[in-house]
Assembly symmetry: C2
Homo-oligomer: 525 residues x 2
Amino acid sequence: MFRTAELQRKLLKEDYRQQVPPLREELLMLQMELRKADFPVIVIFAGVDGAGKGETVNQLHEWLDSRWLITQAFGEPSDEERDRPEYWRFWLALPPRGRIGLFLSSWYSRPILDHVYGHTGPADFDEQLERIKAFEKTLADDGALILKFWMHLSKEAQNNRLRKLEKSPLLHWRISKRDWQHWEMYERFIAAAERTIMKTSTGQAPWKIVEGYDERYRSVAVAAAIRDAVRFRLDEASKVSASGGHGDANLRSKLAQPDAGGSPPVTILSRLDMGEALAKENYDASLKRYQAKLNQLQRTARERKISTILVFEGWDAAGKGGSIRRITAALDARDYRVIQIAAPTDEEAAHNYLWRFWRHIPRAGRVTIYDRSWYGRVLVERVEGFARTRDWQRAYAEINDFEAQLVERGIVLLKFWLHITPEEQLRRFKEREQITYKSWKLTEEDWRNRERWADYELAVNDMVEHTSTRQEPWTLIEANDKRYARIKVLRTLCERLETALGETADRTRPRAKGAKKSATKSFKG
Amino acid sequence: MFRTAELQRKLLKEDYRQQVPPLREELLMLQMELRKADFPVIVIFAGVDGAGKGETVNQLHEWLDSRWLITQAFGEPSDEERDRPEYWRFWLALPPRGRIGLFLSSWYSRPILDHVYGHTGPADFDEQLERIKAFEKTLADDGALILKFWMHLSKEAQNNRLRKLEKSPLLHWRISKRDWQHWEMYERFIAAAERTIMKTSTGQAPWKIVEGYDERYRSVAVAAAIRDAVRFRLDEASKVSASGGHGDANLRSKLAQPDAGGSPPVTILSRLDMGEALAKENYDASLKRYQAKLNQLQRTARERKISTILVFEGWDAAGKGGSIRRITAALDARDYRVIQIAAPTDEEAAHNYLWRFWRHIPRAGRVTIYDRSWYGRVLVERVEGFARTRDWQRAYAEINDFEAQLVERGIVLLKFWLHITPEEQLRRFKEREQITYKSWKLTEEDWRNRERWADYELAVNDMVEHTSTRQEPWTLIEANDKRYARIKVLRTLCERLETALGETADRTRPRAKGAKKSATKSFKG
């Protein structure tokens, strides 16, 4: 694989001097165009020690306008980072649209090092590479331009390079014992590199192997590759917009007719027993009991550093806010945060739609409650046509991957759909109109959404079908009776926490994959 | 001071039931209005253990719309937080305009506890309270509405409360040995509380003492106080906007005539020797030498966890970018970040202007380079009239306070003003027009700014006068000759780093106040 990168390619000084000025000019011009484009550029540097990763990044900083460049390097995770899933810090470090992010020691470092040092076997290594592939796919599907450079040196060239650096009075500090250790392990690194490149070089995020032997050659090679890729993408984008977009205009009408018969579709929601109710006395006693229990469970979870994420979705006026308040009333205000998902800020809008949810992942032992969530992608964005068909369709896989990372990190994840019938919603809307301090909750949009009930019901059905997994099940709540709904939410939460705390009673490590299914009665149970 | 808060005030159940619905309604309505207002609300809870701080915050979450509420509590700082000045985490936690932030265990906790436990004497305690005052003043001057509630219990009432909690099967977990320890130290807490309230209760950020004896009473008292304060502020704001704003319309003409004589003002800049230059051979040798030195110094700084912050200000085309690149070329790309200050994002615009700079404070051992900075407040914002007179005038003190916190944390701070003459600027503008890949750097705005040279010069003079302190001096760079300028920047940086590393050679603690003045030849030296 690396044979062609051991040719000792060189760029003569004269050629370099001739090539660099126009290259620089093109890069600066491209960067200006890019600032107005709606995609970010992610450039990853990996490779053999001494092959010039850091120097190349420095060179790019000199050639490009550093104002629109963001360089990221990741060392040992901080305690805030250790509290979250591994990819949390990578997500937060992604460049916004219109900018270029340069990544040194990125998400590839840990998997490769762990494998080379023998901490992970081939199966675990492959699994980590799969995670990388899914991550990059999520970004690329959203439009990110991903370029990956593998900087290569032959074993001999690396030896020469390390020796040369060691002798330099200015640069000898760069060489540590570790570098020589790694040189001894050259073959293992190369084997791991080959596997990595083989498994993760995709059409969307290809690796380019660059010979690191000559400084001038590798700088120009990398810069020219970036120039060509950005140029190509910008030209492509202008072609697409000239031809009138992606033809999703028929989305609404298509959705409105899920089957030819004209009868309302049979969905998972139509199977719920909407007559479920709870008498006032039972409610008061249950509320007290479950709140006390929840309080105790959360204290234990806090001590054991187990975080909880709650997702609330449901029809307008289904009682999400009321259910959330019955939960928060049992918690210490220091422990939880309610995130209401409204329109994204411009920083959020400049990133992949999942970025704003990654942002709020709680520290160990805390509770984050999302009032509406990432599922907006496959609900409102799908139904209202805000997301293109291909975007919301692939969101199921992206969401499953996101949630799997939460669960693997030991986070207890619960997802509630609060269901009411259209008749009950109408009754509640009318009630809200009467109560002054509730009337503001009712907007024109709420009435409009009502008209698209069937579309939403279908979207909910698909959502549950695609994203209710063994590890991250949906809990459907029959919410025509508020008391019943609140108690079911509280009970489910208590049961899940109990199970999680039982499971981890004698463990401090994150929950392993394949942990037993929660005892909670989810929609599948 | 607390006598009036030991009256065992109670709110009868009937009264409570009568008062709460209209109160809630008003609060929700206010919150809706507030969302469109241009100020944040900061509510601080402090006081005696068991006086209901957490319960009150929970109650507010139930009464208000949690979507626009942000609750913050601060425990032991994380390692990321320890790497920055103490107030970093408080700054980042501030609510944006239009929202309410509820703070439990805020910036008051640590100073009070340290003093009660005898870790700090009266002088240090007072100094910490002064810092708080300055912090709150900065926020209030910018429009933040600050409310501070001291929840009080008499010693006897606290005893009863702790006993009662201990006996409750649901709540006994809340009481730890520490609570009883604190109860034993009641008098010391009260003394510290009195001092705190006396020193930090200002017209802009007053304390309100609330008796915590009765749950209904304290909840309604706090909620009503919030309602009244927000109501008052909203009414005030609408009055101001009705009367036509702050009358800064004449700002430009006033500034343009700094003195009656019509002759150009004598400023600090007019005293610079603009003939300074460096021959090419000298430059090449010096550049190499200082870059090698800088590289070594930064490696040591990294090891010793000493961060550096560089601020670059200067005329358009004065060569800020070129100087920065000569620095970054000597650094490892992993160690530094260049922050180009352009228009704020909407998240940034929703906070105090210093917030976006706090955001980028580097972790220990790293370098952050600000290409333009917080000084925009007293330069472009002043000259162009973007900031009101009173806003930019108080910015000097705010900036000094901000920088003092950086230096106290052990961060090496350098501030460069790159100075060129108007003639040299014109020459460079014309040159830029000729070179394609530089022409984009030249905008209409650059030409406009040129016309206001005298205003800017005056603003620079005032800036240096107000913010060049012994600890945080400005270095004025004669930059008509690019080579001279770059070397002076590099040399100054190396000298400052050397001094800082020498000073901290045998210390791991942050640099103390009163550290010796840097050996650098600053404008004052």
